[in-house]
Each structure stands twice: as structure tokens, then as C-alpha cells.
Symmetry: none
Subunit: 200 residues, 4 copies
């Protein structure tokens, strides 16, 4: 009963998803050195098929970045409903760091900065974060001068810090998340030498 177009679209969507998953893995493993051929092999398709789904390599990267941002938006929205705003923020940061730890796409960040889909996804994340951080701030579990932008910018710092360790324990980043989160707390806070940035 299903029209053939549907079937094709379903196939294509499945292909696209498996390509994204393969690319995410390959990029995380090889970083910038990952080639389209590598990704095609990992996805079990021909090189040309990658370009059927993603116009350019940059487009593929941007799609992955979008997915990551969407996952984070979802997490931020979900945790924003929590009755414990401090715990919610910490849990969000834990999810964010863990995502980054599993698939480090730092190299892709700047590259896809100008892609409109990425801009949208980031905007959405900013909005979700604004709620989450606002509640934590109002509850007094983080300083009054900490903004959504601060959380966004510090989000990946724990994993970045660990990146310089040769063979890190898979939970070492939690140490640095704890340190940074302590820095966000109001207890013993020193005044900050620079106002928070306004992100687009």
C-alpha cells in the first residue's frame, strides 16, 4: 500500500542516518584527517553516495554539528523542568561533556560556524540554555553574574582539558567539570574582570 516514493525516502533517510553515524565516528577517530573515502567505507557505501546525501564534506560536518547541538538543546529543555535547578544544570553539563568525550568534533566547530543550519541549531540551544541557566541563577545555586553564554562557552572545557592526557581515564573529565562548576558557585566568588559576552 505504501507508495514507492515513501519506500525510497525511507531508504534514503536510513542511508543518511547511517552515513551520519559513520561520519561522526570516523571524524571523532581521525579528526581533520578523515577523508570522504574513509567515511564511505565506514558506512558501507560508495564515495559518490556520500555526495548524494551531502553536497560537500563541509555540509556533512555541519549536519553532524547540528545533530550534536540538537541533542544538547533537547537535554537542556528536559533538565529545565527539574525541581532542582542546580542539579539540572550539572546534569546538563555532564551530558554535554560526555557527548563531546565520545565524539570530539572540536575541529569542526569553526568550520561550520557560518552554516545557517548550524546557526539555527545554536540559537535554539542558546534559548534552551537561557531557561536552564536562568533557573539555576534565580535559585542561587550559581553566581548572579553567570549567564547562559558563560555556560555555553565553558561546556566543553572539561573534555578539552583532558585531551592533553595521553591515555586518560574515561571519567577524568568529571574532575574538571567539578572544579569548573565550583567556580560557577556563589560561595567564595570573586568579582569577574570582564562582562559576559552576548552571543548571537
Amino acid at each position: 500500500m505504501a507508495p514507492p516514493v515513501r519506500t525510497q525516502r525511507a531508504d534514503a533517510a536510513r542511508n543518511r542516518a547511517s552515513l551520519l553515524a559513520a561520519a561522526e565516528k570516523v571524524f571523532a577517530e581521525k579528526g581533520h584527517a578523515a577523508s570522504v573515502a574513509d567515511i564511505a567505507v565506514a558506512a558501507g557505501v560508495a564515495k559518490g553516495t556520500v555526495f548524494r546525501h551531502f553536497a560537500t564534506k563541509e555540509d556533512l560536518i555541519a549536519s553532524i554539528v547540528c545533530d550534536h547541538l540538537a541533542v544538547l538543546s533537547g537535554a537542556a529543555r528536559k533538565f529545565a523542568d527539574s525541581s532542582d535547578p542546580g542539579e539540572a544544570l550539572l546534569e546538563f553539563l555532564t551530558v554535554a561533556a560526555d557527548q563531546r568525550r565520545q565524539h570530539d568534533l572540536t575541529f569542526a566547530q569553526t568550520a561550520s560556524d557560518h552554516d545557517p543550519r548550524v546557526v539555527n541549531a545554536r540559537t535554539e540551544l542558546h534559548e534552551s540554555l537561557d531557561v536552564l541557566v536562568g533557573r539555576a541563577r534565580e535559585a542561587g545555586v550559581i553566581r548572579a553574574d553567570i549567564t547562559e553564554a558563560d555556560v555555553f562557552l565553558l561546556m566543553c572545557a572539561p573534555v578539552h582539558a583532558v585531551e592533553n592526557v595521553a591515555d586518560p581515564s574515561p571519567t577524568l573529565w568529571r574532575r574538571y567539570l567539578a572544579i569548573i562548576f565550583d567556580g560557577l558557585r556563589p560561595q567564595g566568588a570573586h568579582p569577574l574582570p570582564h562582562p559576559a559576552p552576548v552571543l548571537p
Copy 2:
């Protein structure tokens, strides 16, 4: 008294220095995408000249990384003599972040991890940092459970955080250094969920 042969060497040394400076700049701007040709153009020399001074591109990168590490070692040793261990540590972190802000070579870190000169330079930095951090810890200005490795790993976090801002204020990183440094302080510290790593 005047060394007669030095003239040539002086020229070559000047060239080498300008090559290093140009490469530092180009790498900071373009990251891994910087080509040897780019660097040669920036330094105003022919491509072949780059290879006269640095056997491979990797060698050039390692040389820059070594220089950076040496500057940091020097700063750490200098500040270790200070009478105010807390201020000394903060000043060191300020120097480190500012260096990184001017020339971000994050991409090079991993690449030159196995170069013996880089290993040596890093070892030296670890030793210098050990003294600096030890004094701050003993003076009680940072938590008792913070080690030299923690400082080393968090050293670049403020600049990393800022990297996601499109056109950042040149001193925005100080905001994040302040937050992280507050996280290192003993006031209001929560226990850390993971022991500090042991760096080689």
C-alpha cells in the same frame, strides 16, 4: 675578537627566527590547513627555504611548540620566586592564556606529542609548574587536592572557552580564567569525583 663567520649565521638565524614567527602566525590563523607555501609567503621566502631550516613541516611545528613550552617554563620559574604564591600562580595562568590567545596552536599539541624535543620541553614545564603549584597549595590559596597536572590541563581552558565567540573582546578570556581560578580555591570547595592524573 669579532667572530668573522658569524655574518652568514646571523642572516640564517634571522631568517629562521622570522620563519618561526611567520609560521606561528599562519598556524594560529589557519590551523592544520596552513600549508608550507602559506608560511613561506608570510615569511617572504621561497618554499625551499622553509625546508632548509626545518627538515619537515612536523619539525617546524614541533619547534614552535617547544618555544611556547619554553616560554611557559621560564614564566613558571620566574613566578615561583614570588612572595605571594597565589598571585604568582594567577600571573602564570595569565601569561599562559595570553600566549595561547595570541597564537593558538591547539592543533599542534597532539601532532608533536612524540617529538623528543617537545617531550623534554614539556617535562621541564611540568617540573617548573610543580614548584609553582606546590607553593600555592602549601600557602592554602588553592585546594589541597589540586596538583601541577590540574593546572597544566586547565591552563588553556580560558582561551578555549572564548574560541567559540565570533569576534571576542581581547580580554574576555580573563573572565573565564577568573571563574576557573575560583574553582581552584579552597573556599566552598566540593570534593572531586576523580583523582588527579599523573602526567609523564
Copy 3:
């Protein structure tokens, strides 16, 4: 019945064959100085296409050498069935010299010495030659102390000799083949000052 996928393969195979032919010609003309670009131009394809068919320049050279060796093996086996072992050996040497005259790949011999495919092809030639030379020896048309290795090593000598002539008659090499073949005959043979080598 018609294999549908063969069309692409046929194209690629044709390209590969024309690449091999072009490379054979260019290498014969320019020796080691032949560049991959030269070969690509001669074959009417882009440089990258050469590397699609042959992983490296060395691989391409080895492929040509293999082909040459296989042709010689085939000739040796074919002539080994002859009822006139002396004539058969002479005909083989004629084929071998003529092949070499058309495409001198002396320079490639040593270069591809370690390629396993070349090693195999050479081993096969040695085995074929062993039969051919053995029969000639048993028939008494060549000396009793001449081995397959001798024939293998002297095989290209006639063409080599002619290489020092500026614009040689295309059959001049036959003169030197005749002289050398006379040297292999039992009539008027002097004892040899060194035993035959054992080739792998």
C-alpha cells in the same frame, strides 16, 4: 547472459591497459627520468588516474616488469616443446632480445627487485628456462656447463651491446646474439673460469 556490470570494468580495464602501454613506451624512452605526469600525458589521462590504477610509481613499474617476465615465461614454455632444442633456445633468445629492444626497462630491473609479484614472475621464468636450457644441453647443442642462470643473465646482452650505437639498425642486435650464442656452443669451447651462479 550479458554481464551488466562489465561495462564500467571494461572501460577501466581498457584504461589500465592503455596506461600500461603508454608507461612502457615512456619508460623505454626516458628511463628513470620518466615522470608520472609524462605517462599520464602519453596515455591521455589525468595524473590522478595513474594512481587509481597503480598505487605508486613503483607499483606501475613492477606491473610492467611482471608483464615482460610473463611474456618470456610463456615463450620459454612454448619453445620447450619444440623438437629442435637448439633452434628453440635460439628462438627464445630472439624473442627475449626483441622484447627488450622494443622496450628497454633495464632501469626498472633493480628497482622492482623486491616486489613479490616480480619475484614470482621471475621464479616462473627460471623454471620455464630450466626446461628449455636443459633440453638444449642434453641435446648437446650447448655446452654441458651452461645453466639456465647463464641464459637468463646473457638474455639481454645483445640489446645492451647495441644500446651504445647512436642510431642502430633495428636488427643489429642479431649480430651480437649470434656471437654470444656461438659462445654457448660446445664447438671450440674453453673451460670457464667461474661456476654458474645459483639464482633464487
Copy 4:
């Protein structure tokens, strides 16, 4: 008493000679892959000094080839006085093959074909050989239809033959010289299918 110009010339001549010796060795070892830098290092001088003595790399190669040809001319002239023309020819071929064995410059042959100094040196060798071979022919120790050109062209064949052996006994070439020399002898000679070439 000696004018300083003489001293300089003597120095220069010594330098030139040591450069030639070093180059001969390096070329024999590395063939075409030998670089001017390799030669300079082997001679213990700077790269620029090589070009003070030899305008181009080709010029250097031509000079070595000239030297080799001159040595052979000398040998040919010396042996031409012998009372045993057959032995004299064999001895000349032995010297020629041994020279080639020690320093294989096959790769250089064609390259320096058009250098006028090489042309001269070769002409001189042809003249010397003409006498040597003429006497052997007249004495009946080689066929009546063998010319100086034949000997010239077959001169290096024994060493060439051995070149395909991986780790040859240093006297293996004598085996092939003996075979080829037997081919030159009148006993059991078959008529040759092509007239001797006329070399310039």
C-alpha cells in the same frame, strides 16, 4: 719560488681530482639517485665548490666518463704492443670489465653522449681499439668478421650480465667474458646475420 698562481692551480687540480674520485664512487653506489650534495659530502667540500669545478652535474658526469674512456684507451694502446695479440685482447677486455665492475656508470653513458669531450675520448678509444682488434684478427685468434666496433660494444656485456645477480661473486663476470670471448673465436663460428656497425 713558485708563483702563487701555481699553488692555487695545484690546489684546484687536487680538489678537482678528489671531487672526481668521490663522484665516481658515489655515482657507482647510488647511480642516478646520487645528488650533488652526496658528492660534496663524500669529497669533503661544500656544494658550491662542486659547481666551481664542474659547471653542471652533467659536466661532472661527462668528466668521469672521459676519464674512464681515457684509461681504456691507455690500456688498449699498452696491450697493442703485446707479442700475443689474442692474450692482449683478452687482457684488455678484462681490464675494461673490471673497471666497469668497480664503478658502474652505465646510467651516465647516454647522458653524456653529446658532450664533445666524451666524443673525443671515445674516438680515441676507437682508434686504439682498432689497432688492438686488428692485430688479433690478423693473427687469427678472433674471427675475420669481428671489428673494433664489436669489441667496443661487447666490452661491458660481462658485467651487465652479472648485474642481475643479487649478491654476485666479484669474479663471476669472468665466466661471461669467457663465454663471449669464445664467441669471438674462429673455431666453430657460424656466419653473422648482420654486418658490423660503423661507429663515429
